[in-house]
Subunit: 877 residues, 2 copies
C-alpha cells in the first residue's frame, strides 16, 4: 500500500507535489536544523483518493495517522488527550501551489473539558480557556460548517459585558462562560454535542481540510490563478506552539526582503501575546520587528539568522511565519513570498548580482503579467491636489472609480460598465470576486500582510490598507475622514505606491521603466524565440513602441489615419462618388495625407519592418447613421431651412441607406472593398511606396510591408497583387530606385486558416487577426457580446475566460494550429505573426510560442509583458 503519511523528517522541499508547499517546507526547515514544532503530513494523493471515495478515508489512512500521533507524542513527551500533559495540534491544509488565506485551519485541536482543566495547571487558566473558545469557534466553523458569526457574537457579547476593550482584557471567568455558551450553540447549530474525543476531533478536522479544497472560494482562487482542480491538498498535523502565553510570547510574519519595493531588508510584523491567526486577520494592528529587536534582541538575532539561512537556501524572497513561545522561537512556515512587480524585478536583479540565481532564473522569477503593473499609471504628484488621507502602500498602481462598499455590488457595477473602488474595513476570502471587479481596494484596517494586501498584490490591483482615518459606515454605505463625507457612488482615486487617497478625478501619469527592468528584459530577449512587435498607427505610438523594444510594427491601421474632420470629409467624398473617376479624385486628395502618415511610421521604425494594413472597416463607418440623418432632416424641415440644403442631406441619406449593412462586421469590408474598388488599395500602396522613397532619399532605410485584411481565399491575394505591383512600378519609375517590400495577409476568418496552404503560396507573411478570428470562430460580435451576454457567460463559466482577452485555445487556437501547419508546409519561408489583442496576453503568448508562430504584435505598453512571456515559455518548454 502506498505510504499516505510522512513525518516531517521524511520529506524535503522537492516533494511539494506530494506533501504540499507547507509540508515540504516544514520538512526542509527541519532538515536544515531549524526549530520546527514536530508533526506529519498526509499526502495530496490521499486527498484525491478521499474525493474518489466520495469523501471517505482511504483504507489504512487512519491507522497511519494514529501511528504518527504516537511518534509525535514520543518526540514532545506530551500526550494527545492527556489532561496532565496534553499535546495539542494545529491541522492545516497545504497545497502544492501556495494559496494564502484560501484553505482552512484548525488550531488547538485536542482540547476538551478535561484537557482544559489539566492544561490550566501547566500554563494558566485564562490562556487555556481563550484557546478553548478559539478551538470551538474554528471547529464549528471550519470543520462542521456552522455560522462563525454566531460564535463570535457570543464572544463579543461577553467581552462587552466584561467591560473588556481588547482581547487580552477579557477575564478568565468570561472566557469560561463563553466556552460553555459556545458548546451550547454548537449543539444547537450542529445537532450533536461538541466532541470531547481528541481522535474524533482529528478525524473530522482532516476531512474538513480535504473538503476545503472544494469550497467555492478555493475554486474561485484556483480559477483566477489557473491552478488545476486535480492537484488536491495535503494536510499538515503539527504540534501547537503558543504565541499567546504572555508578553514573552508572540506570533509574527516576515518577508526576507521588502515585498513592495524589493529592498534587501527583513521586513515583518508581530503581535505579542497572540496566535498567528490574529496577525493575518488584521484585527489588531501589529508592531514591527524593531520592537522585537528592542525588547528581545537575542530572539530577534536568532530570527534574522534563521531567515537569512532560509533565503540563501531557497534562493528566493521568503515569507516566513514564526511563533515565540515563552522566549523560544519556532518557525511554522516558509514559502516564496508574494511580491509586487517592482519588488520582483528588484529581487531578481539583486539576486543575480549576489550570484544567488542565474539570469535565466531571474527572468523566470517575474510573472509576465506582473511586469505590466510597473507600467501602470500613477497619480501625478504635480497635480496640485492634496490627498484626503494616507494608509499603507499595499499594492502599487493608481486607480480611479466610484466608491462601493459591497463586494457583490462591485461585480454588478463593473458588469454594467462602471469603474469602482471597493472600500471595506477589511476583506475576507469571500470578497475576492468583488476585489477582482474593482479598479482598486481601500481598507481601514490591517497591515501589509493582511488579506486585502496579499490578494490585491496577487491580482495586481492597486490597494491601500490600514487607512485608519477612515470611518466606515457599512449600513449607510458611506465613510468619513474628519468632516468630509464620501457616499456610495462618489469618485475616489487611490495610489497604491504612495498610499494616498484623493477625492474626485485626478490626473494620472504614465509609468517609467527602471534600469533594472531594462536589464532583465534584455536577459529575456536572449532566451525568447518569438519576436515582439507593436501595433501602432502613428509616429507617436511607433516611437513609444521603439522605446519599449518593439522589433517592428505588426499592425498599422490605415483607417485610423482617415479620422479627423478634414479627412473624414474626403473619405465621404470618396464614398459618395458614383464613378471610378470621382472616387479617384477624392483618393488623390487623400494620398498626400496618407503619405505623410506613412512617413512618420516608417521614419520612427527606421530599418525595422512596418506592416501596414490596407483599408479594413466597412465604408459606412465613415458615414453618419441613418437615424441621425433622418432626425437632422426632420429638424431642418421644422426650422424651415433651405430646400437645397435639405436635398443635399437627403442625397447623403440615400447613399447611407444604400450602403448600410445588416452585419457590417462580416459584410462589405476589408479586402472586399479593395476588390470592388481596387483604386483604393492601389492609392494606398502608392502612398506607402512614395513615403518610403522620400525617406530613402533622406538616408533612412524604410521597410514597408503591405498587409491585406479579411481574406478568405488565396484568389483574393492573387487578384489584388497586380494593383500593388502597378503602384510599386509607378513609384519606382518616379524615383528611379526600388523600395523592397513584402506582401502578406491577415488571417481573420476560419476559412483563411483552413486554406492556409493555398494562401501561403500567394504571400510572404501571415498575421493572425485574433480579434476577428474570435468573432467569426465563435460567431460572437464583440461589440454586441460585451455589454450583454459575455459577462454572464464568463460568470456562469460557460466560457473559461473572456475570449477577447485570452485566446480560446480549444476553438480559435485550433484554427491557429491548423493554419500554421498548413502554411509552413506549403511555404517554409512564410513568417507568421499575430496582431490581435491576444498578442500582449501571457497565456496566449505561451500558446503562440507552442503553435510555432514567429512573432507577436501588441500595444506598445504591453511589449515588456510580451518580451517576458516569450522568454518564459521558451525557457520552460
Amino acid at each position: 500500500m502506498t505510504k499516505k503519511v510522512y513525518e516531517f523528517s521524511e520529506g524535503n522541499k522537492d516533494m511539494r507535489d506530494l506533501l504540499g508547499g507547507k509540508g515540504a517546507n516544514l520538512s526542509e526547515m527541519l532538515n536544515m536544523g531549524l526549530r520546527v514544532p514536530p508533526g506529519f503530513t498526509i499526502t495530496t494523493k490521499t486527498c484525491i483518493e478521499f474525493f474518489e471515495l466520495g469523501g471517505k478515508f482511504p483504507e489504512g489512512l487512519w491507522e497511519e495517522v494514529i501511528e504518527h500521533v504516537s511518534k509525535v507524542e514520543e518526540k514532545t513527551g506530551k500526550k494527545f488527550g492527556d489532561s496532565n500533559n496534553p499535546l495539542l495540534f494545529s491541522v492545516r491544509s497545504g497545497a502544492p501551489v501556495s494559496m494564502p488565506g484560501m484553505m482552512d485551519t484548525v488550531l488547538n485541536l485536542g482540547m476538551n473539558d478535561e484537557v482544559a482543566k489539566g492544561f490550566s495547571k501547566l500554563t494558566n487558566e485564562r490562556f487555556v480557556y481563550d484557546a478553548y473558545r478559539r478551538f470551538i469557534t474554528m471547529f464549528a466553523d471550519v470543520v462542521m460548517g456552522a455560522e462563525r458569526k454566531k460564535f463570535d457574537e457570543i464572544y463579543e457579547t461577553e467581552k462587552k459585558k466584561d467591560n473588556a476593550k481588547t482581547d487580552p482584557e477579557v477575564s478568565t471567568t468570561a472566557l469560561k462562560k463563553i466556552v460553555d455558551s459556545q458548546k451550547g450553540l454548537y449543539k444547537k447549530e450542529v445537532g450533536t454535542d461538541f466532541p470531547m474525543d481528541p481522535y474524533q476531533q482529528l478525524k473530522l478536522a482532516i476531512a474538513a481540510v480535504f473538503n476545503s479544497w472544494n469550497t467555492p472560494r478555493a475554486i474561485t482562487y484556483r480559477k483566477i490563478e489557473g491552478i488545476p482542480n486535480e492537484v488536491g491538498t495535503a494536510c499538515n498535523i503539527q504540534t501547537m506552539v503558543f504565541g499567546n502565553l504572555g508578553q514573552d510570547s508572540g506570533s509574527g510574519v516576515l518577508f526576507t526582503r521588502n515585498p513592495s519595493n524589493g529592498e534587501k531588508t527583513v521586513i515583518g510584523e508581530l503581535l505579542f501575546n497572540a496566535q498567528g491567526e490574529d496577525v493575518v486577520a488584521g484585527l489588531r494592528t501589529p508592531v514591527s520587528l524593531t520592537d522585537l529587536k528592542n525588547d528581545y534582541p537575542k530572539i530577534y538575532n536568532e530570527l534574522i539568522e534563521n531567515v537569512e539561512k532560509l533565503e540563501s537556501h531557497y534562493k528566493d524572497l521568503q515569507d516566513v511565519e514564526f511563533t515565540i513561545e515563552k522566549g523560544t522561537l519556532y518557525l511554522l512556515q516558509t514559502r516564496s513570498g508574494k511580491r509586487t512587480a517592482r519588488a520582483a524585478v528588484k529581487c531578481a536583479y539583486d539576486m543575480v548580482q549576489e550570484k544567488l540565481i542565474t539570469e535565466k532564473e531571474a527572468v523566470l522569477r517575474i510573472e509576465p503579467r506582473q511586469i505590466e503593473f510597473l507600467l501602470h499609471k500613477s497619480i501625478d504628484p504635480n497635480s496640485g491636489k492634496s490627498p484626503l488621507t494616507k494608509g499603507l502602500p499595499a499594492s502599487p498602481g493608481a486607480a480611479i472609480g466610484q466608491v462601493v462598499f459591497v463586494p457583490k455590488e462591485a461585480e454588478e457595477w463593473k458588469a454594467s460598465g462602471k469603474k469602482v473602488i471597493l472600500v471595506r474595513p477589511e476583506t475576507t476570502p469571500e470578497d475576492i470576486a468583488g476585489m477582482v471587479a474593482a479598479e482598486g481596494v481601500l481598507t481601514s484596517r490591517g497591515g501589509m500582510t493582511s488579506h486585502a494586501a496579499i490578494v490585491a498584490r496577487g491580482i495586481g490591483k492597486p490597494a491601500i490598507v490600514g487607512c485608519e482615518a477612515l470611518h466606515i459606515d457599512l449600513e449607510k454605505e458611506m465613510f468619513s475622514v474628519g468632516d468630509i463625507v464620501i457616499n456610495k457612488g462618489d469618485i475616489l482615486a487611490i495610489d497604491g505606491l504612495t498610499a494616498e487617497v484623493f477625492v474626485g478625478e485626478v490626473p494620472l501619469i504614465e509609468p517609467k521603466i527602471s534600469d533594472e527592468v531594462e536589464i532583465i528584459l534584455s536577459w529575456a530577449d536572449k532566451y525568447r524565440r518569438l519576436g515582439v512587435w507593436a501595433n501602432a498607427n502613428d509616429e507617436a505610438d511607433a516611437t513609444k513602441a521603439n522605446l519599449n523594444g518593439a522589433q517592428g510594427i505588426g499592425l498599422a491601421r490605415t483607417e485610423r489615419m482617415f479620422l479627423g474632420v478634414e479627412r473624414v470629409a474626403l473619405v465621404r467624398e470618396m464614398i459618395m462618388a458614383d464613378t471610378r473617376e470621382d472616387r479617384q479624385k477624392a483618393l488623390d486628395k487623400l494620398l498626400p495625407l496618407q503619405k505623410e502618415d506613412f512617413k512618420g511610421l516608417l521614419r520612427a521604425m527606421n530599418q525595422k519592418p512596418v506592416q501596414i494594413r490596407l483599408l479594413d472597416p466597412p465604408l459606412h463607418e465613415f458615414m453618419p447613421r441613418e437615424v441621425d440623418l433622418v432626425t437632422e432632416i426632420f429638424d431642418m424641415e421644422k426650422a424651415n431651412e433651405k430646400q437645397e440644403e435639405i436635398e443635399k442631406k437627403k442625397t447623403i441619406l440615400n447613399k447611407v441607406r444604400r450602403i448600410q449593412e445588416a452585419n457590417p462586421m462580416i459584410g462589405l469590408r476589408a479586402c472586399r472593398v479593395g476588390i470592388l474598388y481596387p483604386e483604393i488599395y492601389e492609392t494606398q500602396a502608392k502612398a506607402i511606396f512614395e513615403a518610403a522613397s522620400e525617406l530613402k532619399i533622406n538616408g533612412y532605410d524604410p521597410k514597408p510591408e503591405i498587409m491585406i485584411p479579411g481574406t478568405i481565399t488565396y484568389k483574393e491575394l492573387a487578384y489584388l497583387k497586380p494593383y500593388i505591383i502597378k503602384a510599386h512600378k509607378e513609384i519606382t519609375q518616379k524615383y528611379g530606385f526600388e523600395i523592397p517590400y513584402k506582401y502578406g495577409t491577415m488571417i481573420e476568418m476560419p476559412r483563411a486558416a483552413l486554406t492556409a496552404d493555398e494562401m501561403a503560396k500567394e504571400c510572404e507573411f501571415f498575421s493572425f487577426g485574433t480579434n476577428d478570428l474570435t468573432q467569426t470562430g465563435l460567431g460572437l460580435s464583440r461589440d454586441d457580446a460585451q455589454g450583454t451576454f459575455l459577462p454572464p457567460y464568463v460568470e456562469k463559466k460557460l466560457l473559461d475566460d473572456d475570449p477577447f482577452q485570452t485566446l480560446d485555445k480549444k476553438g480559435v487556437g485550433q484554427l491557429v494550429k491548423i493554419c500554421v501547419k498548413l502554411a509552413k508546409s506549403a511555404n517554409p519561408n512564410i513568417k507568421i505573426g499575430i496582431c490581435g489583442e491576444h498578442g500582449g496576453d501571457p497565456e496566449s503568448i505561451y500558446f503562440f510560442h507552442e503553435a510555432g508562430l514567429d512573432y507577436v504584435s501588441c500595444s506598445p505598453f504591453r511589449i515588456p509583458v510580451a518580451r517576458l512571456a516569450a522568454a518564459r515559455i521558451a525557457l520552460i518548454s
Copy 2:
C-alpha cells in the same frame, strides 16, 4: 513512344477518356458493322501534350497522322489532295464528356483550286464550289480566327445579287465569285494566301481543334457542367460524306426516344440537300423523319434499324447524326442524348421494364438536379388567360420575367435582382451566361435540337424555341405578334412544357410527381445510406414533405410560428418585459399557440422524428426598426397626437435602442437568448411536450426532438438541459405518461465544429446549420454579400460557386469533416444531419455522404432531388 493516333477500327466505346466520346463511338459503331465514313482519332493525351509544349505538335504526331491518312486513302480508294479523285476530311473535336456546340469543326478539308476543278467533274460544280466557300469560311473562322461575319457577308451580298432566296438557289457562277472574293478577304484578314496544300490545312486544323478546348466559351461550359480542364479533347479526322449532293442527299439528327417526354418513338429532323451544320444552326427549319419515310422508305427503314441497334447496344437514349449521300446512309455520330427530366425518368423507367438496364442503372441515369425540373411550376391551365402565341416545347418549366433581348443585359438585370426572360431570334454559345441568368428563354427560330433548346435543357431553364410568330426587332429592343407589341422590360410568362407564351403575370401551379418518378425514387431509396428529412415549419409544409418521402423533420423553426399580428404583439410584450415575471406572463399566452403549431407538425409526421429548433433569431427582429420609430414619433408630434401615445412609442424606441445590435447575426441570438432568459426555452419545451402528450392521448406516436441553436461550447448544452428536463417532468406529471424525446444541437459556428468531441457527449444529435456555418466560416453575412460583393466574387472566380448554394468544401466542408470525426469518436451513437440550404444541393449531398453524415434535411420540394443524389453517391462510391 506512346501511340498518338488510333484508326476507328482500333477503338471502342470504353476508350472515351483517350479517344473522346465522338471517337470512341465512331469506333464502336464501326465495330458494330454500321456504315461509318473511315477515319482516325488523335488522342486526348496528345492534346494535353500539345498544351504542355506550349501549342506545338509532340514528336512523331505528324508522322502518325500522315500514315493514317494513307490508310484512309487505301480504304476509300480516294486520295488526299488528288484533283482526280479527292479525299476530303472533316476535322472535329471530341472530348470525353459531350460538350455539344462548344467545340469547333472544320468540314471539306482538303479542298483547293485544283481539287475543286477535278472534283467538279466527279460530282457537280455547284456542289463543289458551295463546299469550297463553306470550307474557306470555316477555315478562316475556326482555324485562323478571322471574323466569320465578313465571310458570310460576301456570301449574302452575292446571294442577293444573284436574286437567290434560299441557299440552293445560289448559282454556280455566284458561288465561284464568292470563293474568289473570300480567298481575297482571307489574305486581307489573315495576312497570307489561303493555303492550297491539304496537309498544311490539316496541320492547322488539328492545332485549331486542340486550341478550341481553351476558348472562353468552352471554359464557361465546362465551368457550368463541372468538367475539369485537364481532360483535353481528342481530334477526329474523318472522310467527308455529303448531304448536299442533291435531293437524294441530306443531313439529319435524331433521338432514339423523345428527349422531351421520353416516349419510345424515334424522333428526328433532317434537311435534304444540306450539310450537317445547317441542321444544328437552325437557320432553315428542318423536316421530320416522316418526310424521309415517305420519300425514301428504304433509307428510312435502314436508319431506324441502325439506331434501334445502337440503342440496344448502348442501352441508353441515343442522339445520332447521319448523312445520306446520294441514297447511301452514313452514321456520323452517336452519343447519349440530352433529355428533359421527364424524359430521363420515362426512359429510365421504361428501359428497366424492357430489361435493358437494372434499377441501379436507372437511378444513375437521372441527374439529381434534373429531377428538380419536374418539380418546377407550370402555368395554371385554368387561369382563364389566353396565350399570346405558341412555339416548340424545348425545355419544360414555367417562368415569369421582364423581357430583355441582349444576353449581357440579362446578366446585369439579374445581378440587380430582376427576373428576366431572354428573347432572341436564336442563341449562340456566346449567349450561355445570359441564358443562365434568365428565368427562361424564348427564340423565334430553330428546332428541338437547336442550340437554345439543348442548352436550356442542360441548365434546366424553361425554354420555347422556333416560335415563328415572333417578329423580333433587336435594334428597337421589341417584338411583335400580330399587332401586339412587347417592349424591353415588359412582363412575359412562358411554359416550356406547353410551349405557350403569355403576356403579363399569370398564376403558376405546383408540379405533381408522376408514378414513374415515385417508382424510381423508391429504387433510389433502396441504395442510399443518407436519410432524407425535410425542413418544415408548419403542418402544411410537413404534409408536403411527407408526400415527397421525408423520413423526418430536420428543422422546424419555432420563430416562424411567432409571426402574424397577434403573435408578434405577444412576442413584443415578452421582449418589453422588465422582469422575469412579466416575461413569463407573455410566454404563457404564447404557449397555447405554440402548442397548437407543434401538434400540427407532430401529427403530420406521426411516428417520424421532428426536430424542433428553439427560438433562434435575435429578439429585435420582432421589434420595429429604430429609424421607423423615430419617423413615426416625428409624424405623431407633427400631427399633435396625444402626449401619452407619443410616450408609449418612446418607451418602445428606448427598448429598441437598448437591444439593437451592430451585428445581430453574431450577437445575442439563438441559445444565448435561451441562456439569458431560460424561461423562453423552458416554455417552448413545455409546449412541445404538451402537444406530444395530447396527440398521444389521441393515438398518435409523436417523436419530438429538441434542438438548441447556435451553440459554441458543450457547456451551453449542459446549462440548458435541466430546463428541458424540468419542462419534461412537469408535463409528464400532468399527463401521467412520458413522451420520449431527444436532445441535440445545431452546429453553426466554427467553434462548435472544432469542439465537437465535447459537444457530442452532451447530446444525442447534431444538425449542421450550414447557412450560418458558411456565414461564420467565411465571415460573410449572406444578406449583405448577396446584393454587393458576392456576385462579383463569383464572376471574377474568386469563389467557385455561391457558397450558400453549394457547400464550400475546402473551407466549411473541412469544418464538417473535423466535426463528424470528433463527434463520432466521442459518441458513436450520435446522429448527425444537416439542415442548411445545402441539404437539397446534389454536389453538397455527395460531400455529406462522404463526410459520414446520417441524414440531410431540405425544403420539401427538394426531397426527391436529395433522395436521388443520396442514392447516386452511394451507388458510385
